[in-house]
Symmetry: C2
Subunit: 362 residues, 2 copies
DNA sequence: CTGAAAGCGCTAACAA
DNA sequence: TTGTTAGCGCTTTCAG
C-alpha cells in the first residue's frame, strides 16, 4: 500500500500531460480515442484512483450530499425487535440515498455521538455540497453560520418563526392535523372521553404540535383537555413509555380510557406495561402511537398510529438541495408540509385488520 | 453564498497566521486560550467551515468509510410493504454507521445505479479511507486495482478461491450450514421428502452455497436430491417467487411438499401464489426463505427462514477496516464467517409462535 | 486535440 | 506558542 499513484504517474506512464489525464476522466470525448485508451491502460496498470479530495478542492464541489441525524438507538429495544425496528433515520436515509443516486450524488451520513467532542455538522458540512439535518441534532447557532455557506434543509420540527433559522429550507409532516384526526377518531368513533397524552420532557416542536392537535380535537368534542400532557417522559423510549403507563394507572382516579403517546416506541412500551398489569388493550385502555414504525404491526394488539412518510421526506430533502445547488441562489426559503396517514389498527379498538387509512394534512 | 471563507480570512480577521487557525481545529490545546477564542470568534463571524477536501488532500485521510451496495429495491414490493421491508443493505448500513461512529468515522453510501455510466466504486473509493462492498456490486477487476491502494472488505459471497480477489478481507455468513440445518428440519422434524429448491438465474455464490447446504441435508437423509435447483428465478423478487411457485405446482407430478426458497422475498411471493391457487401453507406445501427480513414476520403464515446477522456484519466490516487503517499493513487477509440462526415459524408447520432459534455455523 | 502553469484550502515540518 | 513555507492531487484557463 505504498504511495497511491497520481495523475503525474499516469501521465508519465502514458506519455501525455496531466491535463490530458484529467480530461480523460472529466470529459472523455475531448481526447482522441487512441490517447484515451493509452491513458486508461496506464491508469489500470497503476491501480489509479482519482482523489476525490483533490478533485473537490480544485473544482469546488464534492458530488456528495449529507445527512445528520440524532442517535436514535433505543437501548431498551432488545436485539430481536431491533431487526424490525426500522426507525426514522433508516427510512430517511433510504429516501435520500435513492433520490441522491438519481441525481448522481452519493450520500454521507453521520449520527450525533452523544458525548461527542467535535462538532458533527462541521465534519459533514465540510465534505458535502449540501445536507439535511434532522431536527434537534445540531445546535441552532452552528447551523446558523453554516447555512450561510451551503444549502441546508431541516427535517421535522417546524420552522422556528422569527428565529435565525427561518432562512433554511424546511420539511415537516402534518403533526397537528394527524394527531387531531387520530384523537377525533378515539373520541367520536370509539366514544372515549378520558384521554391522557404522553409527551416528552425535552422540548420538541413535533411533540408540541402533536399535543396541540390532541388538544384541538378534545376541545372540538368538548372533552376535558388539560393544558399540559399527562406525562412528560424523559426519553421517548419503550422503557419510558412503560413507566408513563404505570404512572398513569397508579393515579387516584384510575387509568384513563386512552393513552395517546407521542411516538410509537413509547406506545409499545405502554402496551407491555398494561399487559403486565393485567389490563387489556383496547378493552380496558386504548393505546395509540405516532410514526408508523414497522414494529407497530408486529406487536399485539397491532398499534393504531399516525404514519409519517419518512421515505418521501428523504426524497424531498434531496430534491430541495439539488434545486438549490442548481442555481436560483437568492430564492426564498421553501417550507414543505408532508401529509400523514392515520393507520387504524387494533390497539384503538378497530379490530385486528388494518382499516383503510386516509391521508391527512398538507 | 459568495465565496466561502478560508483559513486565510479567519487568520486575517483574528490577526494570526493560518497555521494557528489550523491548530485551533486540529489540536486546540496547542494554542493559547486567548488566541483560540479570538480565532473561534472570527470563524463564527465569518461562517467558516473547514474544507474537508483541502484537509483530506493535505493530511491524506478523510475520516470517512464507505459502502457500495447493489440496488436492491424490489419493484414488486408495494409501498405499504415497503415500509416494513428493511432489506440487507439497510441493516448493514445501520451496523456500519454505528461502528464507524464509535471510531470517529462518517459513512459514505452509494448504491450501484443500474445503467450507471461512471464507475461507482471509483467515486466512493476516491473519497474514503476504506470501504466495504456488497458482493456482486462491482466488477471484480475494478476492485482488483483499487484494493491495492486502500482497504476493502467484501461482504457476503464467499471468498473466490484462487481468484485475484483472495487478498481482500472478507465477511460471509454460514449459508451452507444454515440451509442444511433448515432443510434437515423440514425432512426430519416434519417428515417432508419431496422438496424443491428455488434458486436464482444469476451466478451467486451465496445462493450456490445455500443450494449445496440443501443438497447435503437431502443426501444425509437419503432424500431424492436433484443436481440442480428446481427453478432458477430471473430475479430474486416476490414476483419471481410467485412465478416459481406456479411453475412448480403446474408440473405433472403436482406441487412438492416444500418450497425451499433462496431468499425471503421469493418465499413471500410463493406464499401469495400458493394462496391464490387455493393451496394452504404449511398444510399442502411448506415454504421457507432465507435472510430474516422483517416482512417475514408480517406475512401469514409467518415465514420460517434462516436469519442473517446483517447488522453485525456491518459492524465487523468497520472493525476490519479500522484495523487495517490502524497499521498492521502486510498482514494476511482475514475471512470471517458469521453464524446464522434458523427461525422456525409457521410456514414450515411449526405453529404460529416462533420457536426458539439456534445459532448455526461459523 | 494537447500542454503549461496557476491555484483550490489545508496540514505539517521546520524555524523563530 | 506562533509563523513560514512547501506541497497534497486535481481542474482549469490560456496557449499552442
Amino acid at each position: 500500500m505504498s504511495t497511491a499513484p497520481t495523475v503525474y504517474d499516469v501521465a508519465e506512464r502514458s506519455g501525455v500531460s496531466i491535463a490530458t489525464v484529467s480530461r480523460v476522466y472529466r470529459n472523455p470525448d475531448s481526447v482522441r480515442a487512441q490517447t484515451r485508451e493509452r491513458v486508461l491502460a496506464a491508469a489500470r496498470d497503476l491501480g489509479y484512483v482519482p482523489s476525490g479530495n483533490a478533485r473537490g478542492l480544485a473544482s469546488r464541489s464534492t458530488g456528495v450530499l449529507g445527512l445528520c441525524f440524532p442517535d436514535y438507538a433505543d437501548p431498551d429495544t432488545d436485539a430481536e425487535d431491533d431487526d424490525a425496528a426500522m426507525l426514522y433515520s433508516d427510512q430517511i436515509i433510504r429516501g435520500m440515498e435513492r433520490a441522491a443516486r438519481r441525481h448522481g450524488y452519493a450520500l454521507l451520513i453521520a449520527a450525533s455521538l452523544k458525548g461527542g467532542p467535535e462538532s458533527l455538522v462541521a465534519k459533514v458540512a465540510g465534505r458535502v455540497d449540501g445536507f439535511a439535518v434532522m431536527a434537534r441534532t445540531v445546535p441552532t447557532e452552528e447551523l446558523e453560520g453554516i447555512s450561510r455557506r451551503r444549502p441546508v434543509v431541516m427535517l421535522a420540527g417546524p420552522r422556528e418563526e422569527g428565529d435565525h433559522l427561518d432562512h433554511l429550507d424546511h420539511i415537516e409532516v402534518a403533526n397537528f392535523d394527524g394527531q387531531r384526526e387520530l384523537t377525533r377518531h378515539l373520541i367520536e368513533d370509539h366514544g372515549l372521553r378520558r384521554l391522557a397524552f404522553v409527551g416528552s420532557a425535552e422540548e420538541s416542536p413535533d411533540v408540541e404540535a402533536r399535543f396541540q392537535g390532541f388538544l384541538a380535537a378534545c376541545r372540538a368534542a368538548d372533552v376535558d383537555a388539560p393544558e399540559e400532557p399527562a406525562v412528560r417522559a424523559a426519553m421517548m423510549t419503550q422503557a419510558e413509555g412503560a413507566r408513563a403507563a404505570d404512572a398513569l394507572c397508579d393515579r387516584a382516579d384510575g387509568p384513563p380510557q386512552a393513552l395517546v403517546c407521542a411516538n410509537d416506541q413509547m406506545a409499545v412500551g405502554a402496551l407491555h406495561a398494561l399487559e403486565r398489569r393485567g389490563l387489556t388493550v383496547p378493552g380496558d385502555v386504548a393505546v395509540t402511537g405516532f410514526d408508523g414504525i414497522p414494529l407497530g404491526r408486529l406487536v399485539r394488539p397491532t398499534l393504531t398510529t399516525v404514519r409519517q412518510p419518512m421515505l418521501r421526506m428523504g426524497e424531498e430533502a434531496v430534491e430541495l438541495l439539488v434545486r438549490r445547488l442548481g442555481g436560483t441562489p437568492g430564492s426564498d426559503p421553501v417550507s414543505l408540509m408532508l401529509p400523514v396517514t392515520v393507520a387504524r389498527r387494533a390497539s384503538c379498538g378497530c379490530g385486528p385488520e388494518e382499516q383503510s387509512a386516509v391521508a391527512i394534512g398538507a
